[in-house]
């Protein structure tokens, strides 16, 4: 058993420190990069333990070939996958 706090908790705690304490103390020229670091930490934290479906090369090829043009289940399936990916990359867009 790994020691707690777990990686997700560590990332979230470190990110809060970065945003609340360090960011205001940084010169203006470094703030954009500090915010980028905070974004990366948030994505990484959300990614821990997240669903991660296998790539679907056959699906991509079938869509391109037009084989699924009339498949009513296609769009819901694509949305489900997109939702899964957004939940890590940018849940605010949902």
């Amino acid at each position: 058993m790994l020691e707690k706090p777990d990686p997700k908790n560590l990332l979230e705690t470190a990110r809060a420190l970065l945003l609340e304490r360090l960011l205001p103390a940084l010169p203006e020229s470094a703030r954009l990069e500090a915010r980028m670091v905070a974004s990366a930490m948030a994505i990484a934290a959300r990614g821990i333990g997240a669903a991660n479906s296998a790539p679907e090369p056959e699906l991509a090829a079938a869509i391109r070939a037009g084989a699924l043009d009339d498949d009513p289940g296609l769009l819901p399936r694509l949305r489900e996958r997109a939702r899964e990916r957004l939940a890590v990359s940018n849940p605010r867009a949902l």
Partner: protein, 341 residues
Amino acid sequence: MHPAEPLMDMGRLAAWLSEAAGAPVVIFTHARLSGGAIQQNIALSVTCGGVAETWVLRTDNAATLAVSLGRGAEFALLQAAHAAGVMVAEPLFGCEDRSVIGAPFFVMRRVSGSAAGHAAAKRAAAMGGDAALAAEHGRQIARIHRIRPPRADLGFLGEPPADATAAFIARMRGRLDEAGTPRPALEYGLRMMERQAPAPLPAVLCHNDFRTGNTMQDAGRITAVLDWEFAAWGDPHEDLGWFTARCWRFGQNHLEAGGIGPMEAFLGGYAAEAGWQPDPGRVRFWQLGATIRWAVIAADQAARHLSGQEPSLELALTGHMVPELEWDVLNQAEALHAGKA
């Protein structure tokens, strides 16, 4: 500002400029401006024939994107645009001779203003949308579209496509195959474009990166259209879709025209200058194309980071924009399908 690159021989450059200008050019100061992975810009304070002027020298860095045009081509495009009445920095001299500063370069007149996309959208949103600025963008892009093939001076653009939609879809599929990551959502968007493709229009010069953040602005007015390295022959609605796509509204989604103003003002400005009315349905069609293209570019940027050749947190985070773009692609493709059913 950063100090200028020490490897550039200013004496050699001044001699070349004097010859090109047909008058003695003296360089007083040179300072590196914003630069990127692709090119660098150097501000030159000079006198030309005794008259004080401010110029910008633009040249390639060693690592250049294979998909973008070189400086010689960009100079020719700027000349064509300037002659067509487009707001651009006036192109002065182009040099293909690598022995002068080590790489091809060109020199243009310096233009005042700022090209920060977020700041422009924020400013416009604070006033409830800037219809005049949106219309001005419409007029500028209409002028660019007056440049039509054949043009011997733009021969590097190749033959115009017989069908811009088919050419676009083939190009995007090629880039997806090259990247190697299967992307069913983007395939879905491309397939929908293929199924709903409008009849081809005669090709015009498309800027292909005409968006908020790529127009220099001063006090809410355009002073220059920037970044011509993706220009190509295509359907005029490609540019209109790129400018108005949700992904280029800088968070001001209600201001459809680039996050700065209403769609009607933008298309109205375009129609007044072009003498014909763009088709709003076709603009929506190319908004889908714009979203797919930006997703493909964003994924490629992350790949540059992942390859280890250019480790960069900015490139890495750009990759995480892809799912949002895919979500947007699915929504737009569905709407396009419903609209035609």
